[in-house]
């Protein structure tokens, strides 16, 4: 697969190396001549000095036969334009943009970028995971179908204690595939399973039912 990467900073550099190791054809475009010279030293003809938003540089890079364009500069506006020009001028089928301001995710999606990756958002979600007060933790969110995998720890004063699962009124669009007890015992729960204090409940839930699930298990 021919992949063009716009932006030869740290993300662009390591991405290029990983994709080359995986056997793909890769070209990284870096605007700044000094930075590009360092890339060329190591990557040879896989690095090109030029402006990844500029039609001339993109033509030189062979943009029209690229299957994927990944824009990973530190500036959201540059990443947006690189992806839009790749898509509309060169008909690149798949465009991926890094976004620095998490609020731009909505904008990028609306403007037709296929995938966005936000390191700020990723770090935020990791912080959320270790804050104890945030007792419903998002493990994975599938945004386009509105489904989340979440983890809830059963507190000492949980309203769910002492009653089997089937009596808790868990919403229909919410299933509990796994309970981890004592940190090492995996239980596949059924309707008659009783939760205990400290159990980690893994649930698959619609976004709409998240709040009810939280109330049922954590009060």
């Amino acid at each position: 697969m021919y992949v063009i990467i716009v932006g030869g900073g740290k993300v662009g550099y390591y991405l290029t190396k990983s994709l080359l190791e995986a056997g793909h054809e890769v070209l990284v475009i870096e605007r700044e001549p000094r930075k590009c010279a360092i890339l060329t030293d190591e990557l040879g003809a896989n690095a090109l000095q030029g402006d990844g938003c500029d039609v001339a540089s993109m033509t030189e890079a062979g943009m029209s036969r690229a299957e994927v364009v990944v824009a990973v500069t530190g500036d959201d506006e540059d990443n947006l334009v690189a992806c839009q020009v790749a898509r509309h001028k060169f008909n690149v089928p798949r465009t991926i943009a890094r976004i620095n301001n998490p609020k731009n995710e909505r904008i990028f999606r609306k403007l037709g970028i296929d995938v966005t990756v936000s390191s700020t958002e990723l770090i935020l979600s990791q912080i959320e995971r270790v804050i104890p007060s945030e007792s419903l933790v998002h493990l994975l969110t599938l945004r386009n179908v509105g489904i989340s995998f979440v983890e809830l720890t059963v507190p000492a004063d949980s309203p769910a204690l002492g009653r089997p699962l089937r009596e808790l009124g868990i919403p229909d669009d919410c299933i509990l595939p796994l309970v981890i007890r004592g940190g090492n015992e995996a239980i596949i729960p059924y309707g008659d399973t009783l939760l205990q204090r400290g159990d980690q409940v893994i649930a698959v839930t619609s976004e709409a039912s998240e709040a009810s699930l939280h109330r049922i298990i954590q009060g």
């Binding site: 938003c53 039609v55 947006l80 334009v81 839009q84 020009v85 609306k110 403007l111």
Partner: protein, 132 residues
Amino acid sequence: MRIVILGCGRMGAHLAKLLTAGHHEVTVVDSDGAAFARLGMGFPGRLVVGNGIDEDVLRRAGIEQAEAFVAVTNWDNTNVMAAQVARDIFGVARVICRIYDPLQEAIYRELGLETICPTLWGVNRIQEILVR
């Protein structure tokens, strides 16, 4: 008319002064507060310091009530993104975007942005003068 101008360079500042003189309600946004010096003393419009592709900054500039948005920073990509945010996120009725690069301008014009390219105008005009 309520107008938000992004970029207080020579073009942005001059345009802002002309429009306020014509009794329009103008807000000028620039990431560099020092740029507002170009507006001179007693400029009657509003000034907002901030990054023009940031939704929150645009909101502070009153884009939700604006009838027109003009993107004239020195960076084509900033103008292109800000113009699309104004049009597609905030639904501003009239959006004008300056793009120096003629090739990029052609692409975004095709995508439905109202664009101006001073480079092309200059080139055409100079050619006209020279070959007349």
